[in-house]
Every structure is written in C-alpha cells, then in structure tokens.
C-alpha cells in the first residue's frame, strides 16, 4: 500500500509543478463569464462531496433511517433523521456520484482539482452506532481512494472518521495518509461546539499533527455522546430559514473553539478548514476580537487566523459575504470552495456560478490568493509540491 502513497505524492507533485508553470493571471476587470482556455483558474475546489457506491450499498442494507430504499417510482431515496443540525426532511433521491461529469465540470471551469469528502451534513456520526460507523467509514474511505487512483491529479481526499471513537479515528487517519493517499479527515462541526467537546478529539489531533493533516470541518452533528453539544431546537415555523440560522450559529461556535481557544496550540502543523465562512463569523469577527482582552488573548485576530475559512455555497449565493470575510479576516486565509456534489448522482455545475459570483465580489488580489496562492501554499505544506 506504500506504493499507493508514493504514487499519490508523485502525481500530486507533477500536478503542482504544472501549476507553478502557469502564467500569472491578471484580473483587470470583474469577469462573470465562464472561463475558457487550458490554464487553471482555480487550483483547488476545497469543498465538494461524493456519494460512493459502497455508501449506497451499505445504507440500502439498513431497515431504518438513515437508510436508502426504492420509492414507488423505483428511485433510490435516502431517508434521514432530524438532528441538532438539520431536519430529516422528506426522503430525497440519491445515487452514487458521477465522477466523469464532475471532471468535465472541472475542466470546463479550469479548476485543477477538488477536495473530496463524504456528505458530512447527512449526520451519520450522530445517527449510526459506532459499531456500524467503523466499517461504514472504512468503506467510504476505500471508495474515495479508488477515485483518487482512477483520476490522478484531479482530486484530493479527506477521510471519514467517527467522533465517538477518537482512538480508532486516529488509526484510520494514519491509514488514510499512509495507504490511501488522503490528506486528512472530515469532521462534523459540532465536535467543536465547545472546547470541552473538542478536547475529546485530542487523540485524533495528535495523529493529525504527526502527519500534518488537513482537517475539513463541515456543519453536522457530532456523536450525541460528546459533551457540550448544542441543544436540539426544531423550528416550528419558517423551517428552512430558521435551520439556516441554526446552522450558521453552530458554525460560529466551531470557529470560536478552533480559532480562539487554545485547543489547536499543540497541533501547529495541522491545518483546519471551516466551511461556509464559519457562518455568521465574518460579521461577528469584530465582536469576537473585542472579547480578546476579557479572554486574556493578546492578539485575537492572529489566533483566529490559524484556521482557514471556505465559503462553500456562499461562493455562489453570497459573494458579498466572501468579500466581507476577505476584508475582515484576510484573503490569505480563505480557500475556494463550492459545495459541489451534494446529493450525489450527476451534479449541477456549482463551479461556474461560484466563480462568476466571486469574480464580481472580490478584488483581483483577493482572487489571486483565494483561487491560487493559498491552495498552493497549503498543498506545499502537505508535501504536495
């Protein structure tokens, strides 16, 4: 399996080397038209999801939610449960991700690679017992590694690991690095709802420090066995809007834990990516910084900037918020991301509207950082040069 790792690094190196040869793109004017031409506009889309064949198979074998079954039209639908992070909602059509069309979307939009993760938001960590999670996540990780092998240079991957069993998660992270060619793990945000909760993941982060892992933190419930979890608040009116507020609030709490507290201090080589700009975080950053003296933190902004923010769906829907984050937090700590691939199957092209929106909202120098430079630096730190 070491061969796989070597091959991955070699392929990554080739791709990155190609990146260094790219001509410096200038952004003289906002440009919302789809990019064209052979040169990458964006090095990495750091926020995408895949549903793997193994995931479909496993969930199809379950008799209660979360499960996949055939509806009366013969379609595979996912039935999910309500958690502190999201409503279970009606069963939704799902299938394994179409990677071929994904690669075409990458090519069309001149995006060199995508970071793949499982669909963390589905909340498996909170709804499946640990005895099921271990083999289930192992299957997802093996599937992801197979995709990386099949499309060298086009994808990066982060492994699925459970928050309930950090010791096993640490072993799986080591396997992910050593055998699967992945660069880290995806974790549910609420594992970082409080410092108390985050500390339960210390064993995993010790291993992450050893490997210089990248931690992809996605909004989702953590195991209900973790302490310091947010309360279950199920909206009784305006559900979609109020769930959005819940989600964006959870994201800020995660960003506070990871950015402001001392939790990350022992893990300086670990990089942490918080999706959706940390929710309301860009707006609250001034208030959070102002709280620094009361928390005996000398330079709250410097501390917060240990994490990366990544816009995900806000790239296309709320470009102004990305601009606010760039202004307040620094464009050098923002990664390009789109939330591509939710629901599996043949995904919509989320890349084009994201680029169009950000081209309008960001300055040329901000785009250079977010589209290219930050990814290059982050990959270089991962040994991908």
């Amino acid at each position: 399996m070491a061969t796989t790792r070597r091959r991955f690094i070699k392929l990554a190196g080739i791709a990155a080397a190609a990146g260094t040869l790219l001509p410096k793109r200038t952004f003289a004017e906002p440009d919302s038209s789809p990019p064209s031409g052979p040169d990458p506009l964006v090095l990495v889309d750091w926020h995408s999801h895949v549903i793997t064949p193994g995931e479909i198979s496993y969930l199809s074998g379950r008799t209660k939610a979360p499960r996949i079954y055939k509806d009366d039209q013969g379609r595979s639908v996912l039935e999910n449960l309500t958690t502190v992070s999201a409503a279970g909602g009606r069963p939704s059509v799902t299938s394994a991700s179409d990677i071929e069309i994904r690669v075409k979307h990458l090519d069309k939009n001149r995006v060199q690679r995508q970071l793949l993760s499982y669909t963390v938001a589905l909340g498996y960590d909170a709804t499946l017992p640990i005895e099921e999670l271990r083999p289930f996540y192992r299957t997802l990780n093996d599937d992801m590694a197979a995709t990386l092998m099949k499309y060298p240079g086009r994808f990066l991957g982060v492994a699925a690991v459970p928050t309930t069993d950090p010791a096993w998660a640490a072993e799986e992270l080591a396997r992910a690095h050593q055998d699967l060619g992945l660069i880290g793990v995806a974790l549910p945000l609420n594992a970082f709802a409080t410092v108390e909760s985050a500390r339960t993941q210390a064993r995993l982060f010790e291993t992450a420090q050893k490997f210089g892992s990248h931690i992809f933190v996605h909004r989702a419930p953590a195991s209900t066995q973790l302490p310091g979890q947010p309360p279950l608040i199920v909206p009784t009116d305006l559900g979609a809007v109020r769930w959005s507020v819940i989600s964006n609030t959870h994201l800020v709490n995660g960003a506070i834990t990871l950015g402001l507290s001392d939790f990350l201090d022992p893990y300086p080589d670990v990089t942490v990516q918080v999706i959706m700009l940390g929710g309301f975080f860009p707006y609250l950053i001034d208030s959070i910084i102002a709280s620094g003296p009361r928390l005996n933190i000398k330079d709250p902004l410097a501390r917060l900037r240990r994490i990366y923010l990544e816009p995900g769906p806000y790239s296309s829907s709320n470009g102004e918020w990305v601009a606010l984050a760039a202004q307040k937090f620094g464009a050098d700590r923002i990664l390009f991301g789109t939330d591509y691939g939710v629901g599996g199957g043949t995904s919509q092209d989320r890349l084009a509207p994201s680029v169009a929106s950000l081209n309008k909202a960001l300055t040329p120098s901000q785009r250079q950082l977010i589209y290219v430079d930050n990814s290059r630096a982050l990959l270089k730190a991962r040994g991908i040069t």
């Binding site: 409080t194 410092v195 108390e196 310091g228 309360p231 608040i233 909206p235 009784t236 009116d237 305006l238 979609a240 809007v241 109020r242 959005s244 507020v245 964006n248 609030t249 800020v252 709490n253 506070i256 834990t257 402001l260 507290s261 309301f280 860009p282 707006y283 609250l284 001034d286 208030s287 959070i288 102002a290 709280s291 009361r294 928390l295 829907s317 709320n318 102004e320 918020w321 606010l324 202004q327 307040k328």
Partner: protein, 389 residues
Amino acid sequence: MKSRRQFLQMGAAATAVAALLPSRLRSQAVAESHDNASAGPSGLFDLHNHWISPGAFEILSTKTVGVRYVTNQNGERNLVRPGAPASGQGPRPNGPRGTQMFDGAETRISHLDKHGVQRQLISWPTTSNVDPDLTAEEARLLWAAYNDDLSGLVQKNPSRFTGVAALSTLDIEWSARELARAHDRLGLIGGVLPVNGFATLEGARAFAPVFEVAQKFKSHIYLHTGYANARIPGQPPRPVHGDSKPARSALDNLWNFTAATITFAFSGFLDAYPDVTVQVAQLGGVGGIALVAESVQQSAAANGITDIRGKFKNIYLDTGAGGRGPEAIALAARVIGADRILFGTDYGAAASVVPVIENVEHSPLTPEDRKRIFSENARTLLASKGVAV
C-alpha cells in the same frame, strides 16, 4: 408575606414620589440648552436609549427577594437576581462601566445638546431581564409607575423626548390595557417588549392582544434585548458557556435578534397589524438577517419572495448596541434599505451617544442615506405617530 407587603407598601410610596417628579424635572428642563458644542452632525433623532426612572428604582429597591436593586455602601446601584452575578448600573468612576441609566432631564439634555441630538425615544432597558422574574402583580405596579414617570419626563420636555411604555410579558391582557393607557393618557407612542418573546411565530402570537391594541392606536412597538416571561413559548434557551463566553455571547445576541426579525419579516405575523410599526434593536441582528435575506432572495424562484425589502415595510432596525459598527450599518442599508434604519445610541446603558454617531459617520453610506439614518427616517416615523417634529 412580610416582604411582599413591604414591597407593595413601598411601591405605593414610590408611586407617590413619582407623582412629584414632574415638578423636579420641570426645574431641570429649564436648563434645556440647545448649545451645540459638537462639531459633528446636528438635529439627530436617537431612537434607542434607556432610562430607569426614580419611581421604578425605588420600587425595585424595596424588594427583598427576587430581582431587585441593592445599593452598596459606596452608593453604587446593583441589579441583583437570584443565581446570577450582580449587575452594576449607574455612574462608576472606578467601576468597569459607566452608565447614565438613572440620569435626569438636565444631565441628559446637556449631553444631547453637546452632541447634536435633537430628540430621543426613551424606553425601559429590557436587557436587565427584570420583567421575566416578576409576578403579574409586581409587574403591573412597576410598569405602571415607570410609565407614569416616563410620561412626566416626556410631557415636561416635549421637544426633546418621546417614550414607549414598559409592558408585562406575563399579564398580556393588562399590557394591552396599559398600552391603550399609554396612548390615551400618557402621551407615549407605543411599547417596548423583549425580543426573545418573538423568536418564533408561536411566541409572537402570545402577544396578539397587545398588537390588536397597537393596531388601533397605530403604535410603535420596540423590540429590545431580553427574555419574556417563561410562559411565552419558543424563546431561545438561556445559554451557559463553559469557555469563550464573551465571544459566544455576541453570537447569542445575534441569534436572538435574527430570530425575531425573521418572525416579523417572513412569518406573516404583522399582516393583521398593518398600521403597527416595529423597531428591532441592534440592527435586527443584521449579520444574521442580511445573510438570511440574501439567501431568501437567491431562492426567490422556490419561495416566491421576490421583494425582500417589501417584507420590511413596517420594520425598522436601529443602530444601538451590538451591530452598531460602520460595516454593519452599511450592510443593513445595502440589504434592507437605508430608509429602514434608525439612529440609536443605547445611551443610558452607554454613557455617551458619541460612539454610535462616529460609527454612522464612518459607515460607507451616501450623504443622503446618512441623513436618512441620523434623522429623516425617525422624523417621518414620529410624525406618523402624531409627534410634532
């Protein structure tokens, strides 16, 4: 029973004191000065500020249990609540925070003159969460006394002050009657209620009797920080933070104001009360509501909402306290519209109006929008309530 009797007895005495208040305030008002020592803007309308009246303070000082005021040996006034640390209020030269919660007309008007504030809309500081800890009887006594005091202050300084009545969130029927009294007899233009009572549509509906009266009188209802009585359903949980409390508290605040603004803007609750105007403090949790509003706009095809600003037709957001930063004000203007934003300083809880004036001045707004926020929106609003401006 002894303490309860004492409370009522002292409450009656305090009410008598309050009845004498206008004469005292009249003498203060003589000192009204329109000298403008500020080089900044003038003619400002400050619609978010607070005052704790002498009568209300006296009543709360007579209590020996529950939420109450205790004055320490240094003469400092502390709001005491079982299970919570004491909250200092009032000027504290050596304390962590100076306030002007207890000032009189003279002190206040002098400060306003100095900084170009023409008029204030005064309210009880619901932030102190006094109301949810009161019995219905206590609430009726306290708020009636406060409203009498506020009326006295307004009537003696009609060119400088307007007021909204404090109301009970436990005895809603009484609050409806008190709102009518506030309009009919006290010269006030509406009421102030704690924002958390409106975190959900279910909670808002509990206040229907108040809003029915509000519709009749075309009231201005002010939503300010705080919890309603626990009987009001759907309120946010009271968070207990084990770490990073100051940072997480700012988030709690955002959540609370965003939740209420969502209720008013999108639930249809206000449809039955088309002549009621609603003012949500702290820019309505603007960071939250702006993101929500933009997301709703983006999904217009699915949700049928194509006119976001139309949803805020009778809703005003003010610049007081949290969310008062220059970028927040500009964000609110961009998403909701500058014509929906009111200037408010949180004076009383804050010792000066200056910080928010500076924030509005530094906000990237057009001169026209800045003028709207500083004065024109309030002038139009207050004129619609029959206030001579």
